[in-house]
Symmetry: C2
Subunit: 80 residues, 2 copies
Amino acid sequence: MKARIHITLKPGVLDPQGKAIEGALKGLGFDDAANVRQGKVIEMTLSETDENAARARVEEMCKKLLANPVMENYAIELSV
Amino acid sequence: MKARIHITLKPGVLDPQGKAIEGALKGLGFDDAANVRQGKVIEMTLSETDENAARARVEEMCKKLLANPVMENYAIELSV
């Protein structure tokens, strides 16, 4: 089973990396881009084949290591 | 219009960050995670309302700034 985890900063948290990208885009003439935010995406293969078990497993990984629940949100997508 | 861009390393490219995450997961007892890869996700709001025009615009941003087409793949998702 394949898992894809999106980790993004919570809405209120300042995102300097996103701001830097936005500034660079504007410098290149892309004035129409606003509210640029950067996050992470982590992809992995799991040996688990049951979807619910796999989701619980990935959720545990997020809580223990992958995401910082104080500042970040995460979303898990599973596919076969 | 909102755009979400996934930027991932091409399959053959070594991903030390992904390897580090995989090692840390194994250290925590998550032995079932394999082929861990880390990428970036960039979210932005565009003033463009036409989907095709917005896609072309974001594609141009990816080629000029956001992704390195030699080493990275990118995928664009648009939503209203």
